[in-house]
Subunit: 387 residues, 2 copies
């Protein structure tokens, strides 16, 4: 519990749910007749709606980017380190929107929502959603606020993929695109890890082919295993060595299958906590959106060709020990942007935190992030005098 709200926090925030009535045609061929998006906003939208920043979330993220929901909250939103007055995404300058993506489990329409056709939860019948689908749903969110052009679309990991897709699909609707700890598409190894997680969930007997809500069950083991595995890929080998090494919980080996190494109990704890907090059907959907992401595919598999569509400026950031989406993957994006003759800045930040580094403040990272966002702020057009 924060005894007092820190001065550089956005403070107590309240989510808002926006209903969209216009049907949304999805890449899979199905249509959502209507949908809700739950969002949070920080800062103030200026008169010509030119100071808006969209922050897209990663696999298990949501709309709660910054601040606290109540004085009793133990932790702030997931990117509180980067968003607030005086922080890299400075809420004194920007109007920031965070949302929970379609298919999510934090308030936007997803597998837990009631399917209007059946009056029961969608469950496994919720359509597969893709990164381009999310971008389309976010276009309507921009329209809702009268935002014709984002000052920036920003995201890490799967969030960075959404930012990249925005720049290709709606070039005129963003001035800056920030892609952090991301990749232009998943590798076979990335897909392989996702597939193990999916098998763990879908073969959990409590999953019931995704209809577990009706049985009042949760496929806890599957979700736990998926999260444990995910966690290994979010941390770096070096970071794990430094944080846990071969440290033993009780100092000695017990020659049994109880957790003995610190890393074992850490992973079990993380897995168990996640298994009761996240929806299994959403987890499956998010991993599919990752696997299917491949913006170059529609351009004869040429990423430079895909990025030629873009009109914005780019900032790409990677982290030295990230092996889920390594610096090489960010450099693929940068090289394609250079080839497409786009304006791109790139920073590779030293960090021991692996993929998780994009969530963890680090002086150099925050300085680079903040410096670029100052450029984004400088590019906000002066509000024209009312006629």
């Amino acid at each position: 519990m924060p005894q007092t709200i820190p001065e550089d926090s956005v403070g107590i925030v309240t989510p808002e749910t926006i209903h969209f009535d216009q049907p949304l045609a999805l890449a899979c061929g199905r249509t959502l007749s209507s949908y809700d998006l739950i969002i949070e906003t920080y800062g103030t939208l200026n008169a010509d709606a030119s100071n808006a920043v969209l922050v897209c979330h990663a696999l298990s993220g949501n709309h709660h980017l910054a601040g606290y929901h109540s004085m009793e909250d133990k932790k702030p939103g997931w990117w509180d380190s980067a968003i607030g007055p005086g922080k890299p995404i400075d809420t004194n300058k920007f109007f920031v929107i965070g949302l929970n993506n379609l298919g999510g489990c934090h308030g936007s329409t997803g597998p837990q929502s009631i399917n209007p056709d059946t009056d029961k939860p969608f469950g496994p019948d919720f359509p597969i959603v893709t990164v381009p689908d999310w971008v389309e749903s976010q276009v309507r969110l921009a329209d809702h606020f009268g935002i014709k052009q984002w000052a920036a679309v920003v995201g890490g990991s799967l969030g960075g993929m959404q930012a990249l897709q925005w720049s290709i699909d709606h070039p005129e609707r963003l001035r800056h695109c920030m892609v952090i700890a991301s990749a232009p598409k998943l590798s076979a190894q990335n897909i392989a890890f996702n597939e193990v997680a999916r098998q763990a969930i879908s073969r959990d007997p409590d999953f019931n082919d995704g209809h577990f809500y009706e049985h009042d069950l949760v496929p806890k083991t599957g979700l736990m295993l998926a999260r444990m595995l995910g966690h290994i890929t979010y941390l770096s080998d070096d970071g794990m060595r430094e944080k846990f090494g071969r440290d033993l919980r009780q100092g000695t080996i017990s020659y049994d299958f109880t957790p003995q190494f610190e890393i074992e109990s850490y992973l079990r704890y993380q897995g168990e906590r996640f298994s009761t907090a996240f929806d299994a059907n959403t987890y499956l959907l998010m991993t599919k959106a990752l696997d299917y992401f491949d913006p170059a595919a529609a351009f004869n598999h040429s990423l430079p060709h895909a990025l030629q569509q873009a009109q914005c400026k780019y900032m790409v950031i990677s982290f030295t020990t990230d092996w889920r989406f390594s610096p090489e993957r960010s450099r693929e994006i940068v090289d394609a942007l250079v080839e497409a003759e786009k304006q791109v800045s790139y920073a590779e930040v030293d960090s021991d935190h692996g993929h998780d580094a994009f969530l963890i403040p680090n002086p150099r990272y925050m300085a680079i992030f903040g410096a670029y966002m100052q450029q984004v702020a400088a590019d906000i057009p002066a509000v024209k005098e009312a006629n």
Copy 2:
């Protein structure tokens, strides 16, 4: 099926089971009152038993190193590429022994064996076995054959750990030690992957706390997940990219959870095949032997100090794309040997096959392996004339 047995094969081979009556005290404090080891041998033991090579197996390996069990066999033993007439471990020169380790599921005493105290299978009550325990059981195997000193002890991965342990625990009983694609101890990340595999198995409802034999069940899902995950760590990111990339089985995305990418169906197939072929309790034991391996621990956590015990010469081999036990881990062993003033050769072999590379013939690897084994052969003492 081999229509004909290749000329450089050891041919049709028959395993042999050796019973050991002398109780074996284990590191965990428990004692096996007696035990069986299943073995295979190739080549001929010379008169003073000085040409014997022990090959130790990795996590899911066994005693069947080379040759065929029948003309109907589709595949030869797991290291057939390295063992046979004219091959690196030349059976014209060496007498080679392969065994299934204690705790295994291929014929040596293990969880599926009958516990003499209960007349039921040991199941989860089989004691935790360690690398030093295996070495002690192998010492008796040497004694059984009258082998006072191995020409070499050789192994890859967990097998390399046994070779290393031999050189520390019984310095006078081997002239050469070959440690391939191994590590002096597991990292936190290595342990973490093992722990996910263990949780997948032990939380499978069909595992029944390890008593699944009595219920005529097999924890197939758990074993499948463990193997899928293991497989990802055996292959390299580059190798997977080259072999599978983002290739689709049917050419198009189907927007559902059926396997669509080649890598997905490959992993499912590997996992499913393994789930009916390997024992879950053995899998748990093998991962624990890996986690607990730490020969430096008894020497104030100094690996050079541990290796000062040794009297043999060493060959250490690593593979460029192995990220389970990377070249850095082999160099730790080499550096410690240099510090301990031992004679060591080291080769880092280019390969796209990741950790699996130690099982896959590659001209440079086989040439290096063979050249070193020629040195091992040259060090076989001339048989003394009978008095």
